[in-house]
Amino acid sequence: MTTPEPVVELEPQKPITRNWKSKGRILGIPISLMAIWAALYIASSAIPALPVPGMAGMITINAIMTAISGMILGPAAAIANAAGGIVAMMLFPYGFSAGPLGFLTVTMGGLVAGLLFADKWVLAAIAEILIIGSWFVNPKSWQPGMWLIPLPYSAIALLVIIIPPVRKWMRTSILTLHKVWMWPAVFLMCTVGHAAEFLTTNTMVNWMFNLSYQYWVPTMPYWVMVDTVVIAVSTAVGVGVLIGLRKARLPQYADNLEK
């Protein structure tokens, strides 16, 4: 007769958590993914798309990457964009009209949109207010008509950030990949990212090249057109990428939110 083996009580296995503190991750995003994003960013900086009147540069396809980065990488987009921006600035300087600190513009674009997507809306609002406020630090920004420049998209971005129903509807539509509402929601998210980028750029070039209302006011319709085109194309790319990432079960920031 054999005695039954004593039942060994196994300690419950600790769940493997890969949170934002994990070594191979920054703010919840794998470093490998951020490196890939930075590489994509650099590659897209090599493709000029639209000229910038009166400035040292071209609007390159990287504007699209900045606009959609927040939805894909969350706040980590700021770091990935910064890394890509620094290298891209050295290799393809024509895409950076703001000169040596040009990478800050794409960093801010990723940061504001990423914070908003991560539902850190207070931080996003503070960053956006700082960006808008910095435009008015330059005495030239008090010239006639200069207050118009941040109005079209930065004001919309701020409203999207601070109005709770809009913010919640936008995030939910993107996270659930709603068939219809996802499109306007991604459009608004791209607006937030792009607005932060372009107003930071405007503020910096204003200081660097001594630009005044004689430059900004006449070229404003052109800017509104360019921004609209960039945001519209970013929306098409953003929707395609978000759906593709979900279908292919590839990593993205939304995975962290679902957990």
Partner: protein
């Protein structure tokens, strides 16, 4: 498009420590931004061009960069020439047009300031590629880490740079596939069609490379990326005599530049 390979050009600049080159680069950037006198900026431009020649980088690269810049350089020149509030009138064009802020005169200061702004941009644009084109990737990364840039950030930058040729190849393959389907807008002149075509390029490119990121993730994990041990480097860098000479020269240039700027020299 500038095609970037991982090889750097063999030149005296390549032998310098990466930190030295990064510091010298920052000095040129700062000096280009603090001076607005065209004669001073011409001096900086000459310095950069000499360095370009020493680095043995093809002059055609400058042409590549400048072709994006020529028309807009003319525009920035015109804006400054017409609207800079100068004091020395050269000639009169019309009556003052107050609502656009035009005094009616073309001024010497306006022309000088316009030229300085254009030259400032040229300096900023052509100095930056010097760093990347003369520094091998491992040296670049080592320089960043030794300058106390967080290792993970430096890793992202250098990995991105090393992945660039592969992404450019991916991009080429996708463009070829699109061409087979009759999409020919990538290289056209029409900006709208080009930006619209970019959507068809970016979506598959992003998804394809995101898939590759998983392989990279596994490779990093298998090499214990982020393990809590003191990191060592395969390569070591040390300042040599040439580095010290260049560093001293850079610091003297920066200190002298700031002193002169504070004394009111080199600005309009």
């Amino acid at each position: 498009m500038m095609n970037i390979s991982q090889s750097t050009l063999n030149s005296p600049l390549q032998k310098l420590d990466g930190r030295t080159k990064l510091i010298a680069l920052m000095v040129i950037f700062i000096l280009a931004l603090v001076f607005s006198n065209p004669f001073v900026v011409v001096g900086l431009l000459a310095l950069v061009l000499i360095t370009w020649w020493i680095a043995r980088i093809p002059w055609s690269l400058i042409k590549d960069i400048m072709q994006f810049f020529l028309v807009i350089a003319i525009i920035i020149l015109v804006v400054q020439v017409f609207f800079y509030p100068g004091k020395i009138n050269l000639f009169r064009i019309s009556d003052p047009i107050k609502f656009i802020g035009f005094s009616g005169y073309i001024t010497l200061d306006g022309i000088e300031f316009g030229i300085a702004m254009v030259l400032r941009l040229v300096v900023i644009m052509i100095v930056a590629p010097l760093m990347v084109l003369t520094t091998p990737l491992p040296d670049f990364m080592l320089a960043l880490v030794k300058l106390k840039v967080p290792y993970r950030f430096a890793f992202i930058m250098t990995t991105a740079l090393s992945l660039l040729p592969s992404i450019q190849t991916h991009s080429g393959i996708i463009q070829q596939a699109q061409l087979c389907r009759g999409v020919t807008d990538f290289e056209g002149k029409n900006a709208w069609l080009k930006i619209k075509a970019s959507a068809g390029l970016l979506v598959p490119l992003i998804l394809g490379t995101f898939r590759d990121s998983q392989t990279l993730d596994v490779a990093m994990s298998s090499r214990a990326f982020g393990a809590p041990v003191k990191r060592t480097f395969l390569l070591e860098s040390h300042f040599r005599a040439a580095d010290i000479i260049l560093l001293v020269f850079s610091f003297l240039l920066l200190a002298g530049g700031i002193y002169l700027r504070v004394r009111g020299f080199g600005i309009l």
